[in-house]
């Protein structure tokens, strides 16, 4: 058998068991949340009599049944597990219905009568800010003196930028099964990226110590950040049901419920001002981000900080002020999604630069190239730029995409064609790797070498398709010097590796792979000492292990890794919050149908810095998949709420994500050669999030084509309101968008 990813083999055979595929334990109850039907209201009464009358198995649990603290919020306590008095978004859980079958539970939930008093609804972040509905305090990062620097600028542009939310559409929806354990504890099988987070939430809600709660995370059918904080509620509800009834409880949301109840990528509305000298060098940048945080704090503070850290994109900006406001609205709490605030910040920076290019009548690529970060520069948060691969990536991408020739061809095409116009754009990338919350940058592993020489590895990493298990398998095999097939990666459980950070922020392999490596080195040290003591010479691995066991050598080890060198002074907004940065560049071309306002991406060239790759197949898949999601966010995925906080795009027939036709264009991906990264495991670099940003080039490539349709593409004003849907494209072509 070839060296395929063993878990992928199970996937294609259809044998991987996701939460809803596992055999159901005897006595299982199905849980269905009863949710608020409006976006803001005071709960006056909840009448469960009709639901209870439906079937003898029906139980209805409310906030009063929660034995511990009725709270899910970790940063700020503003998210009850079940609403006791006031709901703040549509789809918020008010009660939990349990019944013998899923369909009974759903029907019973629909019979629970809610009476409430409607309260005013705010969905717009700027309106929320104007009304003082802000979470925590505004946060500002600053470098130099932008106010003074603007006075020296030859060109100053300003504008407003909008970016929409994005639904995760993990193909497997949210779910969990909970069971009471012998001894009074709770066992939860949770579809989560954060087993420890779930463990903590369940313990808190049930009033149990953490050691009474065991959480297992099986392989997830996709997550993308959507199961980082937001898996906790469903697991905690299942646990509550099991705790109260003593029977196993499963909650598994259907697609429509999942779309309606859960949070998504944050929409942002932003104002910027950018100043440049006559040569096009950026001198000053000011930006205010109005983050639509939704109704609860969730991960918004950490997400906002990543926006602020990425305010300057891949550019050197000597004078900068970036301020972020977390605006509380009556929408489901927006949450982590691949990129975690960085895409929103980078889009504003690019929009500003493109606006400046219009003002100067130059191609945006000239300004992009002129202002790239270089080694020795300093980020606006005080961290020196080490080994910048920005210019290298950009120059290579321009060369590989034959930028100059293509530009000429496109201009010629646009001169001769009326019905179609083409465009092109680049996106230079600089993305910081590490959790922006310092304490989270730690990972643990437990490695067992069994006495037959096979190896079992437990880490805090959750496999959700990103290939972290495959990479850790390779790290372990390489470190111990054994074939990959001898190494098995176990599913993630809090009882074997404790106090884990969520598998997020692209750090899954960096933290957990390194922890596994540390554990393997420890075992390797013991074995090599034993080898020399016992005179085993070059005896094979299996013999060595078996003899070592006979000689009572410990064949298990726990490994721990905390990313070194990180520090941050939150007051001064200065420090070194990232282990390293990932660089790269995308060049995308697009073609617009001028009659119909539709468009296609024609080609993509990516040059990406992945360090020394542990597994190229995994990294290629991550880069391609991230670009796809980025393009979806930039162009296609249209998350819509109405003014009352009702989600309009609440099915996959109204919320469209990229399909195979949408992404049917040649994609040329080159990983930067000779680019080892001394800061991460086996000199690799994190891959999950950074290539998402390349989707932004898709926005500007389509916009470039649209501008060509309206006149002199170098001078026609563009617009920066993402996603760039066919509706906006046609509105722009027909002048409705000026």
């Amino acid at each position: 058998m070839k060296s395929w990813n063993p878990e992928s083999v199970q996937n294609v055979l259809g044998r991987t068991k996701y939460i809803d595929d596992l055999p159901e334990p005897a006595g299982l109850l199905h849980g269905q949340p009863v949710v608020s039907k409006s976006a803001h209201g005071k709960l006056l009464s909840l009448d469960a009599s009709a639901a209870l009358a439906l079937h003898p198995s029906v139980r209805v649990l409310t906030a009063r049944d929660i034995p511990g603290e009725n709270e899910l919020g970790t940063a700020v306590s503003d998210e009850p597990l079940l609403v006791a008095d006031e709901w703040t978004y549509r789809g918020q859980s008010l009660a939990l219905v349990l019944a013998d079958t899923r369909s009974l539970a759903r029907r019973a939930a629909a019979l629970v009568k809610i009476e409430g008093e409607e309260l005013p609804v705010v969905t717009d972040p700027r309106e929320a800010r104007a009304k003082g509905m802000i979470i925590l305090a505004p946060r500002t990062m600053r470098m130099g003196d932008p106010e003074a620097a603007f006075r020296d600028c030859a060109v100053v542009v300003s504008g407003r930028v909008e970016s929409g939310g994005q639904e995760h559409v993990y193909l497997e929806t949210q779910g969990a099964t909970a069971q009471v354990r012998d001894g009074g504890g709770i066992f939860v099988l949770s579809g989560t990226q954060s087993p420890t987070g779930v463990q903590e939430a369940v313990a808190r809600n049930l009033g149990l110590p953490m050691n009474a709660v065991e959480v297992d995370a099986p392989r997830l059918g996709g997550a993308f950040g959507g199961k980082e904080d937001q898996a906790a509620g469903w697991s905690a509800l299942a646990a509550l049901g099991a705790f109260v009834t003593g029977r196993p409880v499963k909650i598994y949301l259907n697609r429509k419920d999942d779309l309606t109840f859960t949070g998504k990528r944050h929409p942002y509305s932003s104002d910027y001002k950018l100043g440049l000298d006559a040569e096009g060098r950026i001198l000053a940048f000011e930006v205010d981000y109005y983050q639509n945080s939704g109704a609860c704090t969730d991960l918004s503070p950490a997400i906002l900080s990543r926006t602020l850290f990425h305010a300057a994109g891949a550019y050197r900006i000597p004078n900068l002020r970036a301020t972020g406001y977390m605006c509380r609205t009556n929408l489901p709490p927006f949450t982590a999604f691949r990129g975690f605030g960085a895409p929103q910040g980078i889009f504003v920076m690019e929009a500003a630069l493109h606006k400046a290019a219009e003002a100067m009548g130059v191609d945006p690529i000239e300004l992009q190239r002129k202002n790239l970060l270089r080694t020795g520069d300093s980020f606006h948060y005080g961290m020196p730029v080490e080994e910048a691969r920005t210019e290298r990536s950009v120059e290579r991408a321009l060369e590989r995409s034959a930028w100059d020739r293509k530009r000429t061809e496109i201009d010629e095409f646009n001169r001769t064609r009326r019905d179609r116009k083409r465009g092109m754009a680049a996106l230079p990338l600089c993305f910081g790797v590490s959790f922006t919350k310092l304490m989270m940058n730690q990972g643990g592993a437990l490695v067992h070498v069994y006495r037959d020489g096979s190896v079992g590895v437990h880490t805090g990493a959750v496999e959700m398709g990103q290939g972290v298990n495959r990479k850790i398998q390779k790290v372990v095999a390489l470190t111990l010097g054994i074939p990959e097939a001898r190494v098995r990666i176990e599913r993630t459980r809090t009882a074997t590796v404790a106090n884990t950070s969520p598998t997020a922020a692209s750090t899954g392999t960096d933290l957990n792979g390194m922890a596994a490596l540390v554990a393997c080195e420890e075992i390797g040290k013991r074995l090599s000492a034993f080898r020399s003591e016992s005179g085993l010479g070059d005896a094979p691995w299996e013999t060595l292990v078996s003899k070592a066991h006979e000689a009572r050598v410990d064949l298990s080890a726990h490994g721990f890794y905390a990313t070194p060198g990180l520090f941050y002074d939150g007051k001064a907004e200065r420090g070194s919050p990232f282990a390293y940065h990932v660089y790269g560049c995308a060049v995308l071309t697009a073609e617009v149908d001028v009659i119909r306002g539709t468009y296609r991406i024609d080609s993509a060239t990516l040059v990406h810095d992945a360090g020394n790759m542990i597994d190229e197949v995994v990294d290629r898949g991550q880069a391609e998949g991230a670009l796809a999601q980025g393009l979806g966010w930039a162009l296609l995925e249209d998350l819509r709420y109405d003014g009352t906080g009702k989600l309009l795009s609440d099915t996959l027939s109204t919320y469209k994500l990229p399909d195979a036709h949408f992404l049917d264009f040649p994609l040329d991906l080159e990983f930067l050669a000779d680019a080892p990264n001394p800061k991460a495991v086996l000199k690799s670099k994190a891959i999950g999030e950074p290539p998402f940003m390349y989707g932004i080039a898709g926005y500007f490539a389509v916009l470039d084509a649209l501008k060509a349709a309206r006149g002199d593409r170098l001078r026609v004003p563009g617009f920066h309101d993402l996603p760039l849907t066919p509706e906006k494209a046609l509105d722009y072509l027909s002048g409705v968008i000026p």
Partner: protein
């Protein structure tokens, strides 16, 4: 209702009394424990629940990939369902190996659906690169961006370029080459006898492909009276009857576009197939279902209105014919009376073939509901339009036959002024809404352009493009 159903699932014959309206997806997962078939959306949009369905064709079984979330158990009577478990019964297949070589399975939740889609592609045996992509157009993957999946599919296209045309021979080759377990491949050449006969004159709900009904009724209550048009004799045919081309109620969208009579009547019509739903949906959705569903934005209805279709409605007392334009009374309201069902759509064909164009814009180009759509069919004599029918969708509570515009066009030279006037007249009938697919203003701007686009496409030598977009 509850009936005796006899069908095959993978290599096993099922003979059971069962509720017909149970969804095949639920039944496969819960009753048989075949959990490789996944529920991703329960509305036919993601393909995670695809199964291979074998049904009776003119010359033996016909195999297609269909979404099991929109498939009633009652539909399976006398048929054969192959799930991922059946395909994988003997271990990895070349389709799976191509996936593994390319790393085309990440989280894996969508993988079984893709494997089924590509296996269906090989079983159908019409291998070319365009069809390769079409074969997976009904599957969503959120992880890969499809690059690795396309590379895997392209390899299969090369490796299986020369499959035999005959189904039996093809299945034998696929069995030998491990695409299917040989024992399963052998079973797939014939279908079991159904367990019950459908009622001659079914009462109550008479379901076509169910691709819309099950979206609106995702948890059908046991006991919902359901009859299936494709289990009734004769409804699956397209034939010339007198002056009409008769399209039976059970004719699927796919069968319609593949039909030679249809293609002769409206040359080039097959080009529009790609704009209708996705292949797995086209495999199941019927034209009649599209019509009775009465969605103002139905794509096939827009085509049928331009083709001047009549609806033949049957009841116990006989049939009556109605111009399709008169069939729609209001939003989702039709002229169907109690006890009546749409038996066929009749396309007038006495005057010979028509020239046809269809325009649709949606957020996503494929498998998406239109923001607006329109079709124009016409005949010309010399350089004048002698007959025309223009239809408009998404612009009113019902699908519109733009009568004033159609009448206006007769006798006109198809120049820019004519096109503009037709668009103006068409818009007079419209009262678009703003919704998640677009604002009323956008719809209006869009429709005007789409009507002009008809003329640009149908009369490419008249320099209209230059006039409209100088």
């Amino acid at each position: 209702m509850k009936r005796r159903l006899v069908f095959r699932v993978n290599e096993r014959l099922v003979d059971a009394e069962a509720w017909e309206e149970t969804l095949a997806l639920d039944w496969l997962r819960r009753e048989l424990g075949l959990t490789g078939t996944k529920e991703g959306c329960r509305e036919g949009d993601c393909g995670a629940c695809l199964v291979l369905l074998g049904e009776r064709g003119e010359a033996g079984p016909v195999w297609k990939a269909v979404p099991s979330c929109l498939l009633a158990l009652g539909e399976l009577d006398g048929r054969h369902v192959v799930t991922i478990e059946g395909i994988a019964a003997a271990g990895l297949t070349p389709v799976m190996e191509a996936f593994l070589d390319q790393g085309a399975s990440q989280c894996g939740f969508c993988s079984p659906g893709f494997i089924v889609a590509l296996t269906a592609f090989l079983v159908e045996g019409r291998i070319d690169p365009v069809r390769t992509l079409v074969s997976i157009e009904g599957n969503l993957c959120r992880c890969t961006g499809y690059g690795s999946i396309r590379r895997a599919a392209d390899r299969l296209t090369k490796d299986f370029a020369d499959l035999p045309r005959d189904l039996g021979a093809r299945l034998a080759v696929l069995g030998k080459r491990g695409v299917l377990p040989p024992s399963l491949a052998a079973l797939m050449t014939s279908l079991p006898e159904p367990g019950s006969r459908p009622a001659a004159a079914p009462e109550g709900l008479n379901l076509g492909g169910g691709t819309d009904w099950f979206v609106r009724n995702p948890d059908p209550e046991p006991g919902t009276g359901v009859a299936f048009t494709d289990r009734q004799a004769g409804l699956g045919r397209i034939e010339r009857t007198g002056d009409f081309l008769s399209v039976g109620a059970a004719v699927t969208v796919r069968a319609f576009f593949e039909d030679l009579l249809v293609r002769a009547h409206a040359p080039g019509i097959e080009a529009f197939e790609a704009q209708m739903a996705s292949l797995p949906i086209r495999n199941r959705a019927t034209l009649a279902g599209n019509v009775v569903n009465a969605s103002p934005i139905a794509d096939m209805t827009a085509l049928l209105l331009a083709l001047d279709a009549r609806a033949r409605l049957r009841s116990a007392s006989g049939t009556r014919d109605l111009p399709l334009a008169d069939f729609f009374l209001g939003y989702k309201k039709t002229a169907l009376r109690d006890g009546e069902f749409l038996e066929a759509l009749l396309l007038p064909a006495a005057a010979g073939p028509v020239r046809l164009n269809f325009e649709k814009v949606s957020k996503r180009e494929s498998l998406d509901i239109a923001t607006a759509n329109t079709a124009l069919a016409l005949r010309t004599e010399e350089d004048r339009i002698s007959w025309a029918r223009l239809s408009v969708g998404g612009m009113a509570p019902v699908p519109l036959a733009a009568r004033a515009a159609s009448e206006y066009l007769v006798g006109k030279i198809p120049d820019a002024a004519t096109a503009r006037e037709a668009a103006r007249l068409a818009l007079q009938d419209c009262s678009p809404l703003s919704d998640v697919r677009g604002s009323a203003g956008y719809r209006t701007r869009l429709l005007e352009r789409l009507v002009l686009a008809h003329f640009v496409r149908l009369f490419p030598d008249r320099g209209l493009l230059e006039e409209f977009w100088p």
